[in-house]
Amino acid sequence: MSSIAAYAGRRRRVRLAGAGDRVLVLCALVLVAMAIFVLFGSLIAPQDPNAVNLEIALQGPSSAHLFGTDATGRDIFSRVLAGARPSILGPILISLGATALGTLIGVLAAWKRGVSDTLLSRGMEILFAFPGLLLAMMAVAILGRGLTAPVVALAIANTPWVARIIRSAALRERSLPYVAAASVQGFSGLTICLRHVMPNIARTIWAQAALTFTYGMTDLLAINYLGLGVQPPTPDWGVLVNEGQNSILQGAPWETLFASVFIVLTIVSATVLSARLGGDDTAGIRA
């Protein structure tokens, strides 16, 4: 939609919940914890996430099992910790892919202008028409179930969003006097780009990365929930929510509950972080 670009660049200060930096620190802590779980989840888990013990199935939280046990007696706390990696790695890859590609395209379009810009923008416009979920589903239809197809598809689907924001940010930078000055001095376009423009739009890039992470996670979880992505027994959080559904009926909501809590914590923290990084809410939001 052509009206988007015009509004992408406004800077507005928005206070989040009035508590300012405290909230930011909290979110950062949460994300650091998640990062630790991703790296060391299986190691620090108190029990083997796949250890089945039918005697103790569907028990509530206790000192031995912090989050209780699931329908086959596996320790939910261990499964949630071990599930951090499959649940977060995918979105990280999506974020990396979309941000890298989007930044490349955005900067290129802003720098070259003219025909390349028009071509790239039109291309992105067409990609816009595909919701991430749709592309991911089509990818699964072609390539089969699993993690690869949805991750690649979601990275591609999120690219135009990043590209558009980066493009307008780069455009703004480009129009600043120092760029013209540097170019007159004889610096090559590439040098100006890398040495000056990129660092100045770095915050925007990071904000987009964090935001893409949240969108990627939400969409990937949906794919897993629909049974088109990661398959059991991998303790991906989306799979845990699905598996735990039946246990809810038997009076044991722990699996779904704790997996959901971890999901929400991660997404909210990343969203808040991206909003603060961007310093600027509207640029951070997909508009």
Partner: protein, 311 residues
């Protein structure tokens, strides 16, 4: 203005065309033969195989198959479902109005609740504003399927206020059945639109023309309405348009969670069964819906701010 509209129209058509090539072409690339999907893996004689290939034009070159598909699709004929042995249109028909009603209810919720909460958060400082902001942050973080399960557990099973599954029959009954799904689907978007509205309104509040109008003594109400909200509406409308356009596919999750007989659920089951004609048809409709909604959003925004037509 008219040239603007014409330009957007042409762009839209082009987008749909290219998207259709992508949709048709990508499924063309899928490994395995459609014949396997057609016969559900049952061994068939070579003769039957040849008959099926001829019937579904499986051996024609890509361009021919594409042109044939597109030509018939424009007339509403999307071919025959591999799984149901019925025409794809017949398979989709009973499901369209469920999804349509769901998307409409959801859109009203998003626009109404989203814009309202955002405006409230921006215009009213203090506890209410802070509470809304916090609620929005949490709302953004709850994935749709988690929200669905939560709503079913609390409002359907525990309290019994809403039905557990299905889309009901008769208009009022359908509204009642689709309430929880619409809420679940709208949750994230309401929070998002709310946040955006808040930011947009706050931004406008700080603008020069608003200060000028206030200083000149115009009543605050009028300033808000005429100068702040009208301008703030533009980015929000754009975003809302995108969000709503994406609902058709996003509905797949709630339709699965609530066992609704809609296009989204159809898409998921078609993927499970490699029913390519159905996948192609629903994908094309989703993309076309996006382009159509985008077109209307552009026109609305152009009405709000004619400067857009100059771009």
């Amino acid at each position: 203005m008219r040239r603007f509209i014409l330009r957007r129209l042409v762009h839209g058509l082009l987008a749909v065309l290219v998207a259709s090539v992508v949709i048709f072409g990508s499924l063309f690339l899928a490994p395995g033969s459609p014949v396997t999907a057609l016969t559900a893996g049952r061994p068939v004689s070579a003769h039957t195989r040849r008959l099926l290939e001829a019937q579904y034009h499986l051996n024609d070159p890509f361009v021919v198959q594409y042109a044939d598909w597109l030509g018939r699709a424009v007339q509403g004929d999307f071919g025959t479902s591999y799984v149901e042995s019925e025409s794809v249109s017949a398979v989709m028909a009973p499901r369209v109005d469920t999804t349509l009603l769901l998307v409409c209810m959801c859109s009203l919720l998003i626009l109404g609740a989203g814009m309202l909460s955002g405006a409230v958060a921006a215009l009213k400082r203090g506890f209410l504003g802070t509470a809304v902001v916090f609620a929005e942050a949490v709302g953004l973080g709850i994935p749709t399927f988690v929200a669905s399960l939560l709503l079913i557990a609390v409002f359907s099973v525990q309290l019994g206020w809403f039905p557990v599954y299905g889309s009901g029959s008769g208009f009022l009954d359908e509204l009642w059945h689709l309430t929880l799904p619409a809420i679940a689907l709208a949750l994230t978007s309401v929070a998002y639109i709310g946040r955006l509205t808040q930011a947009s309104v706050e931004g406008e509040l700080g603008k020069e023309h608003v200060t000028t109008a206030t200083v000149r003594g115009l009543p605050r109400r009028r300033v808000i309405r005429r100068h702040v909200l009208r301008n703030a509406a533009i980015p929000v409308t754009t975003a809302a348009g995108i969000v709503i356009a994406y609902l058709v596919v996003g509905a797949a999750v709630v339709e699965t969670a609530f066992s609704l007989n809609g296009l989204g659920a159809l898409l998921v089951s078609a993927i499970s069964q490699d029913d390519f004609p159905v996948i192609q048809a629903v994908s094309l409709i989703a993309v076309a819906a996006f382009v159509v909604i985008g077109f209307f959003v552009d026109v609305i925004c152009a009405r709000l701010d004619p400067r857009i037509t100059l771009e």
